[in-house]
């Protein structure tokens, strides 16, 4: 999550984005296929693509579309013609990829297009207690940082010629985890110092400059979510 917003043309409310992420993850990962799901699945898969395009993230949109098409094509064409172990591997890879990819894309859209302030404002509107909203927003702010630090540690290790813990997989854990946590703790301390000086956790009510609200786009997206979840429940418990 960014601390300041570069462009103000965020189309959706943070709450809608969260609802979309939850719906996409639960329907695509947990739901079956066949019947009405054949319409709902592609619709949900298209949502992150559409959002990437609207917000001008052409690169993310292209990567997402290409990766999903590969996985889908693999599932469609390779699975029927292979057997045994190959089939097993292809199904596992493509199946998992096609299922998790849209949820991950939506999650990254949520994290990349929402500022921390907007997120906090949305949490406040939802009347979530601060005890949950502060850790939650810190966490979302922190995911990209953990990834960056992990990459930097990998670079440093390669520079010194340490690969896979020098053939000792047990050591690998120590070599990666220890520096990662040391740097995360340091960053965390700085983060909390800067948040505290801005009055986070002060006893008075915090005001927020961000304008968030439910607009027609949000209503349409929410409708899609509600319909998908209803069909997911029907499908799961075979009510009909």
């Amino acid at each position: 999550m960014k601390s300041t917003s570069k462009s103000s043309k965020t189309v959706l409310d943070p709450r809608t984005k969260m609802l979309l992420a939850v719906t996409i993850a639960s329907v695509l990962i947990g739901g079956g296929s066949g019947g009405i799901m054949n319409i709902i699945r592609p619709a949900l898969v298209l949502v992150p693509l559409l959002l990437f395009c609207i917000s001008g993230k052409w690169k993310s949109a292209a990567i997402y579309a290409a990766a999903y098409l590969c996985a889908f094509a693999g599932e469609l064409f390779l699975v029927p013609v292979t057997t045994g172990f190959m089939n097993f591997m292809i199904v596992a890879c493509c199946g998992m990829f096609a299922r998790f990819m849209p949820g991950i894309a939506m999650g990254s859209y949520l994290v990349n297009t929402t500022t921390v302030s907007e997120f906090m404002a949305a949490m406040e509107r939802m009347h979530l207690p601060q005890k949950l909203s502060i850790p939650l927003s810190v966490m979302f702010r922190f995911f990209p940082t953990v990834g960056e630090e992990y990459g930097a540690i990998g670079d440093a290790m390669r520079m010194r010629g340490i690969r896979f813990g020098g053939g000792k997989p047990g050591k690998m854990l120590e070599y990666r985890m220890v520096p990662l946590m040391v740097s995360c703790v340091k960053i965390g301390e700085e983060l909390s110092a800067s948040a505290l000086t801005r009055g986070l956790g002060a006893p008075i009510h915090r005001t927020n400059i961000c304008k968030i609200g439910i607009r027609p786009y949000d209503l349409a997206a929410m409708l899609l979510c509600v319909v998908s979840i209803i069909f997911l429940l029907i499908d799961k418990f075979s009510v009909i």
Binding site: A25, F88, G95, I134, M139, M181, L191, G201
Partner: protein
């Protein structure tokens, strides 16, 4: 000594929850290979012990561990592991919190035992496989193909829930010991703790 949770504590909870989640997901990616799925009940608590023990050095107030378990439960549940983990994680978290509290958040034995209890949240991921077996089986077939589903079902028979529970707990204890060893070796020397 009753202290209220402050913003600084909440920020710490957020940071360590993010680290725990990334670590758990990294390990859980091994689930590509079905034999690793039951083994995850050993690996996730074992590796998670390292960040958790570091987290414990920052915990001095009741509730921080509970909040972390609630957040982990929600996140993992949303990643497609079903509703069970959302219910079980807070329960194990609050029990662990009581254990840590009884040791004043400083006792070595209590913190190892407490992380063992905390690790029980991992079992939430396995409950849907056993309890709603037919449902889960259908879902696996539609998503991962018949071979993956049948292999996975063979590895996790009905009776396996209790050994898995024990595995979570015991590897939680081991993970805590590993975490404490690393803590002594590195973090105290580096002045982090």
């Amino acid at each position: 000594m009753k202290q209220r949770i402050q913003a600084k504590d909440l920020i710490n909870v957020g940071i360590f929850t993010a680290i725990m989640f990334v670590v758990c997901m990294g390990v859980a990616m091994l689930g590509y290979i079905p034999i690793f799925i039951p083994l995850l009940s050993v690996l996730v608590p074992l590796v998670g012990g390292i960040p958790f023990m570091l987290f414990l050095t920052k915990v001095k107030k009741f509730g921080m561990v509970t909040i972390m378990s609630i957040l982990i439960g929600i996140l993992i549940g949303l990643m497609g592991m079903g509703v069970w983990v959302i219910v079980i994680a807070p329960v194990s978290g609050i029990l662990a919190d009581f254990i840590f509290k009884s040791g004043g958040y400083a006792s070595a034995k209590k913190s190892i035992l407490g992380y063992g209890v905390f690790s029980i949240w991992v079992i939430g991921n396995f409950i849907p496989i056993v309890v709603t077996r037919d449902n889960y089986f259908d879902m696996l077939i539609s998503g991962y193909g018949r071979e993956y589903a049948e292999t996975l079902m063979r590895y996790i028979p009905d009776w396996s829930l209790i050994p898995l529970l024990a595995a979570c707990f015991i590897s939680g204890l081991l993970g805590a010991i590993l975490g404490r060893a690393l803590l002594k070796k590195h973090f105290e020397r580096a002045g982090i703790v």
